[in-house]
């Protein structure tokens, strides 16, 4: 009766909307970077995201199997537009009780370090 909504793309191909268009991940995890990312995450993000449980927002565990690195960084850096316009972020916003993802004003460099930390959460 209704036209099928846009066929959900392969989530791994969705880079999201925001300043990050291309991220290259090193073959190995950069441990120093990941450690910095962990510390940023604990101050800026951990009030809503727990590693081992669904909390205010989803757990970042294994996120790089579900989302592209660009999407993750754009979600951190540009949450207002993402929850309005990106189909995956929109669905998550509804699923998580319409609790808005807070823009914690991370720099791109900080967001990249958080991403590196997420690589350690398998």
């Amino acid at each position: 009766m209704v036209e099928t909504a846009e066929e959900p793309e392969d989530p791994m191909a969705n880079k999201g909307i925001g300043p990050v268009s291309e991220v290259t991940l090193g073959a190995e995890i950069d441990e120093a970077m990941a450690a910095e990312g962990k510390s940023i995450f604990e101050t800026m993000c951990a009030a809503c995201h727990k590693i081992d449980e669904k909390f205010i927002g989803p757990s970042p565990k294994g996120i790089l199997k579900r989302r592209s690195p660009e999407w993750v960084m754009n979600m951190i850096l540009n949450p207002e537009q993402m929850i309005k316009e990106d189909p995956v972020a929109k669905a998550l916003f509804i699923e998580f009780n319409m609790s808005p993802m807070a823009n914690q004003n991370l720099t791109e460099d900080q967001a990249r370090k958080v991403l590196e930390y997420f690589r350690t959460l398998e």
């Binding site: 009030a47 205010i56 808005p100």
Partner: protein, 645 residues
């Protein structure tokens, strides 16, 4: 429709000729003050709140209220003076004083031009000067002025904000002591205080000049050629202490005191100042620790004119001069004789010549009185009554308010010719032109700050907000554009081009820079600690929950400090905190800031607390409970978020 418009235009033209009003004129005025939704005003205007003790920030030309900044009075809306961090800001040598009467905002200057760094404002009643940081729009420093009473001729700044000044309106025993009021002429003295700003912008009193026991009413510092001098008006040179309404108006002339502060610096360096024991406080707020501290000073340096020749002169000025205003060139010093129809204008060059020639009428307590005719540049015969204050535009014109005849009069600096006059509704006090008391006025607009409102707006009972009126002064004739109510008494104002300030305005406090002694930087650190009967709750907020949000083990009689750190790092995401029954205000915590609510629970029960500032769709869920037990109970201190204790 076309026909209708045509008719209106026709009739407006017919009537408009005579009255300078009517639809066409109103439409043009409306267009000039219209700032479209989402657009920004061209100027910031800072108006004092007078007896509200605060500063209100408006946009011009729209007349939109942007913010009220708490300064000398507690403000429950923002928790100012209620939270532990800002209570010290209102400390004085008399203890905590939660109110003052704020009169003259003054923007800091660089090279005589308002630079948008700070706004100073005086507290009249318990003499103080506050400094507001215009990157955060917060009060960051308040200094008390000793040996003073009614700090009215304040806080006018020098060309590079080397100093702000504070002259006493009431002379008082100097230093304070218990004497008969009738011994006024023997015991009462005036103090002209110079408050120096150090490299970090911190204020402290550099020196006071001990002057005869008159009333020192207003001030302005010299600029350009007169940089290095500050001028104070005096009245009550009769030295009356009762029924001043009559007794302070007997002399035909009072004085403008001219203080050579560069000379004062020389005398200070030579060790000519005397140390007078006294007590005054300096309260400083630090935007990184988000806390304020009070420093006590126990002496002040005093320069005595008899011992310091060349430090100060008196310029005779008719009829109890009120405002003293220096034109943008620094040459003309305008004395607004409030019981007169005329303005007296002195010449700085003539003053310097008179000093060199020792053209003195007499000497009072070591202060030479210059001969009136030797310093007079001219008189503006205004036709108005009760001149109070003068400001300037960028084209060599001056604008003076007349309280009694309720009008602004425009006149030409140098020729003293009256060019235009416009009525005010009603009884105008100060006026404000953006940059109008500086070396480079922006001009364009003039705001009349009126004392009486009466029928200007919808009535609101016996008390009404004071009215302000905005005029376009870009043409030959002043044109009234807008009439708007203000907060408290808008005693004086300052205006500045918006661009100077708006790009420096901070959006958040970075969490990483937070050095509050009781901050926490993540939810993982959230906890409750007991030390005797002192309980500290280390709490965080983020949309939309507090951590912890369930707390047990608090007892009646405990002294509870809730240290709330707002973990948000986005613009305009404050969280509030209030606790049922707390005999205190709320907290309103900006992103990255820590603030503390003090609470003494009175009786056992379970106390809800919640966020007071609507923060997200789940704001109504941003709440928690604190269980309070009898003092003797053995309920263990515990806390949680997301699970049962």
């Amino acid at each position: 429709m076309l026909t209708l418009t045509g008719l209106f235009v026709f009739s407006a033209c017919k009537n408009g000729m005579k009255q300078n009003s009517g639809i066409l004129n109103n439409q043009s005025a409306a267009q000039k003050v219209y700032v479209a939704p989402g657009e920004h005003d061209e100027y910031y205007a800072f108006f004092s709140g007078g007896f509200s003790g605060q500063v209100s920030v408006y946009g011009l030309p729209s007349g939109r209220l942007l913010k009220i900044i708490p300064v000398f009075s507690v403000d429950a809306e923002k928790g100012y003076g209620f939270n532990e961090e800002t209570k010290p800001m209102l400390n004085t040598s008399f203890g905590f004083v939660p109110w003052d009467d704020a009169h003259h905002p003054e923007l800091s200057q660089t090279n005589g031009i308002p630079d948008g760094r700070w706004l100073f404002i005086n507290g009249n009643n318990t003499p103080r000067i506050a400094k507001l940081d215009l990157s955060t729009f917060e009060t960051t420093e308040i200094i008390e002025i000793p040996n003073s009473g009614g700090n009215h001729s304040s806080p006018f700044t020098t060309e590079n904000s080397e100093y702000v000044v504070a002259g006493t309106r009431f002379s008082v025993p100097f230093p304070q002591k218990d004497v008969a009021i009738g011994s006024y002429k023997d015991n009462f003295k005036g103090a002209l205080s110079f408050i120096k700003l150090d490299e970090d912008g911190h204020m402290d009193i550099a020196f006071q000049v001990l002057v005869p026991g008159y009333d020192y009413d207003l001030a302005h510092s010299g600029k350009g050629k007169s940089h290095g001098w500050t001028f104070f008006t005096t009245y009550n040179s009769e030295q009356s202490h009762t029924l001043k309404e009559i007794n302070a108006s007997q002399n035909d002339k009072d004085f403008i005191a001219a203080v050579n502060w560069k000379k004062a610096e020389e005398y200070l360096a030579q060790g000519k100042a005397q140390d007078y024991p006294t007590e005054y406080l300096i309260n400083r707020y630090d935007e990184h620790s988000h806390t304020s501290t009070s420093i006590t000073r126990n002496s002040v340096k005093v320069l005595i004119p008899e011992e310091c020749p060349g430090l100060i002169y008196y310029l005779p000025t008719p009829k109890s001069p009120h405002g003293v205003d220096v034109d943008p060139t620094g040459e003309y010093i305008v004395g607004n004789g409030k019981l007169s129809a005329d303005l007296t204008v002195h010449s700085f060059d003539k003053m310097m010549t008179a000093i060199a020639n020792e053209a003195f009428e007499e000497t009072i307590d070591g202060i030479p009185v210059l001969k009136f005719e030797e310093v007079l540049a001219g008189t503006v015969s205004s036709g108005g009554l009760g001149p109070l204050h003068t400001e300037f535009d960028a084209d060599g014109n001056a604008y003076t308010t007349f309280f009694i005849s309720s009008e602004v009069v425009k006149w030409k600096v140098g020729s003293w010719e009256v060019l235009d006059r416009a009525p005010c509704y009603y009884s105008v006090g100060h006026l404000m032109i953006p940059g109008g008391d500086s070396k480079k006025p922006w001009g364009k607009y003039l705001v009349a700050l009126n004392k009486i409102t009466k029928d200007r707006y919808l009535p609101t009972g016996p008390e009404m907000n004071h009215s302000a009126q905005l005029y376009d002064i870009s043409g030959d004739k002043m044109e009234m554009l807008l009439d708007f109510p203000t907060v408290g008494e808008p005693h004086y104002g300052q205006g500045i081009a918006a661009d100077v300030i708006k790009n420096r305005s901070k959006k958040i406090y970075p969490l990483n820079d937070n050095t509050h002694p009781h901050n926490i930087k993540s939810e993982a650190e959230a906890r409750v600690e007991r030390d005797g009967d002192v309980v500290r709750i280390y709490m965080t907020s983020i949309r939309s929950h507090f951590a912890p949000d369930n707390i047990e083990g608090i007892k009646v009689g405990d002294k509870v400090y809730v240290h709330l750190t707002n973990l948000e790092q986005d613009w305009d995401t404050p969280h509030g905190l209030s606790i049922m029954g707390a005999r205190n205000a709320e907290l309103l915590v900006m992103p990255g800031q820590t603030e503390t609510l003090y609470w003494e629970p009175q009786k056992p029960g379970v106390y809800p607390f919640y966020c007071t500032d609507f923060c997200s769709a789940l704001h109504q869920e941003m709440q928690g409970y604190i269980r309070v037990s009898e003092a003797t109970s053995d309920i263990k201190l515990s806390w949680s978020l997301g699970e049962s204790i």
